[in-house]
């Protein structure tokens, strides 16, 4: 017997083009344009020649792709007397970044560990003030720090800036590590103590190997934060060792000469490249890092 009537079975398939979906995806599409368009404009502008920029539309793709602006931004753009481009700022930033990240993470991780497992009288009070300090506007503290650095002979040097980054990165990093170590079961710590391990033994053999993910999060947080810093760079260093952000601002906002928008945009992209690459490579960990950075206290 042939069954002519196939009875539909299961739920009725939903149409994709409901009014709700069109509204929803339409809105999201417009939103996505707002966020992505500036990046697109930067890339497109940096690949055009100046005549094309003057005549054309900033949203139009380049008719003739040129990498000249990138080369110029990297190696010959001028700031003041120096005409060796952003490469100088790039290497300065790298030299500032590496010791700052390493030093601040070492100090904060050991400190967070001490705060959880080796509490001493007053440790909680210091920690509370440290967190509170994260909210004090930097402007309140910058001048006395200038005096302190001058007394130490570090004013205008790389190491002075490294020290400043270490100090101002401390609240959030310490919080990050403290929260992580306090989630480690206490029994583990007690067992190690009974076995005779001391402060550093437990730190290096037990805590450190367990905390690798949180070290990565801390690194992401610090690399973006320090790379993007402008304020401390401009105050505590001198023109020869300005970090990339400061040099970028000087190149783009210099009043002399004809504005070369394509070179400016190439320079801006170059400066943004390090955190952007880090962002797209690290994905979820980046979100975790900023969420940890965001939820203070």
């Amino acid at each position: 017997m042939v069954n002519n009537h196939i009875v539909p079975n299961g739920p009725k398939p939903k149409s994709i083009f409901t009014a709700r979906n069109i509204m929803l995806y339409g809105t999201l599409f417009v939103v996505a344009i707002y966020y992505i368009l500036p990046l697109y404009v930067m890339i497109v502008t940096s690949l055009k020649g100046m005549p094309e920029i003057r005549l054309g539309n900033i949203f139009a793709p380049p008719l003739e792709v040129t990498f000249q602006p990138w080369v110029k931004a990297w190696s010959t753009a001028c700031t003041g007397l120096n005409c060796d481009g952003l490469s100088r700022g790039f290497w300065n930033s790298v030299q500032i970044l590496i010791p700052s990240v390493v030093l601040s993470i070492i100090i904060a991780s050991v400190n967070g560990y001490a705060l959880v497992n080796w509490k001493f009288k007053g440790s909680e009070v210091f920690f509370a003030v440290l967190l509170f300090g994260a909210f004090i506007p930097y402007q309140v503290m910058i001048y006395p720090i200038v005096i302190l650095l001058r007394e130490m002979g570090l004013m205008g040097s790389l190491w002075g800036l490294v020290l400043v980054h270490t100090v101002f990165g401390m609240p959030i990093l310490t919080l990050l590590f403290r929260n992580y170590f306090s989630s480690v079961p206490e029994e583990l710590f007690k067992a190690a103590r009974i076995d005779g391990a001391g402060f550093w033994g437990i730190y290096f053999r037990i805590m450190l190997p367990m905390a690798v993910p949180i070290f990565v999060v801390a690194m992401i947080l610090q690399v973006t934060g320090i790379w993007n810093d402008f304020l401390f760079g401009v105050i505590y260093t001198k023109p020869d060792i300005y970090p990339m952000t400061v040099q970028l601002n000087n190149i783009v906002n210099s009043v002399q000469g004809v504005k070369e928008y394509n070179v400016n945009m190439a320079a801006t992209l170059l400066t943004g490249l390090v955190p952007l690459v880090l962002y797209f490579v690290s994905g979820k960990l980046f979100v975790r890092g900023i969420a940890a950075g965001a939820v203070k206290g």
Binding site: V31, I36, T45, F59, F126, P137, V140, L148, F230
Partner: protein, 298 residues
């Protein structure tokens, strides 16, 4: 006996104290010491060099009589209110939209959040270019045939701060969206089921049930946004450098310029003390709600 015990208590747990030394020094010297130093010196007549010659509230009187400071405060106020409201609204709405079990959620989230990875200098320079009246959006729209179209916030003193606002929102709203999304994901599915059974429309559920439940997330977001607003400096320097004229000055820039350009330290100290006061006004009620409340609850 008690005296011979003393070195012992100090030496006990010595390694932990050594490990915490950087924190102790930072707290005492930088956060407490430097702050007090600046506040004290705001009552002196320091100019090129700091000196302890007290003149009472003179610096503050001069500060509040300076038009540049008044404009800075006004800008901070406009920027602050707009950025707070817009960030919260945009952040929440976007999070709610992304929470509708949509496709490409991860892609969209990455797109909305990526500006947060960029520095304020980069952000300011990008938007300076897009808002350029001769070659940017304004000229594109005019070329399309609407020749009287005017959109040049960066060259118009009346609206320049809104031009900065567009850039600020672009950079920071992704973070708020991520926080809100995490908050929404923490809401129990049963709440939604219950409200669906009761026939409550979705927007009402959001407004009267979900948002009140997300109060802690909102408080965090508000504290985060406001403490960021007071610090606004690089964005202004890169995008407008305070111009046109002094139309987009902000307090943080006033402090920096007084200290490092105009050799007028006293004004810088007084202005930065006012900034500190702003933060305290926001922070103390928050700390009271957050920690005072908990203690009462215990």
């Amino acid at each position: 006996m008690a005296q011979s015990m003393r070195p012992n208590t100090l030496l006990r747990n010595l390694n932990a104290k050594i490990a915490a030394m950087p924190m102790i020094i930072t707290v005492l010297v930088i956060f407490v010491g430097c702050t007090i130093w600046t506040v004290v010196h705001s009552f002196t007549k320091s100019r090129m060099l700091p000196k302890l010659e007290f003149i009472g509230f003179d610096q503050y009187e001069r500060l509040w009589g300076t038009s540049r400071w008044l404009i800075s405060i006004e800008n901070l106020f406009i920027y602050g209110i707009c950025s707070l409201v817009l960030s919260l609204v945009i952040g929440f709405v976007l999070a709610a939209l992304l929470d509708q079990k949509i496709r490409f959620e991860n892609t969209l989230r990455s797109i909305i959040l990526f500006p947060f990875a960029l520095s304020f200098v980069v952000t300011g320079l990008i938007w300076q270019w897009i808002l350029n009246p001769d070659l940017g959006i304004q000229s594109v729209v005019r070329d399309l045939g609407w020749t009287s179209f005017a959109f040049d916030p960066l060259y118009n003193p009346d609206i320049v701060i809104y031009g900065v606002l567009i850039a600020g929102i672009w950079q920071g709203s992704g973070l708020i969206m991520v926080l809100m999304l995490a908050g929404l994901r923490g809401i129990d599915e049963d709440i939604w089921n219950a409200s669906r059974i009761d026939g409550i429309p979705k927007w009402k559920t959001y407004l009267f049930i979900v948002i009140p439940m997300m109060k802690p997330v909102f408080v965090t977001a508000i504290v985060l946004i406001t403490s960021g607003i007071v610090k606004v400096y690089d964005l202004i320097v890169a995008q407008t450098n305070g111009g046109p004229g002094i139309a987009s000055e902000v307090p943080a820039k006033y402090v920096m310029d007084s200290m490092f350009l105009k050799q007028n330290l006293g004004q810088g100290f007084a202005a930065s003390t006012m900034m500190l006061l702003c933060v305290l006004i926001i922070l103390i009620p928050y700390a009271y709600l957050e920690f005072g409340g908990k203690r009462n609850g215990k």
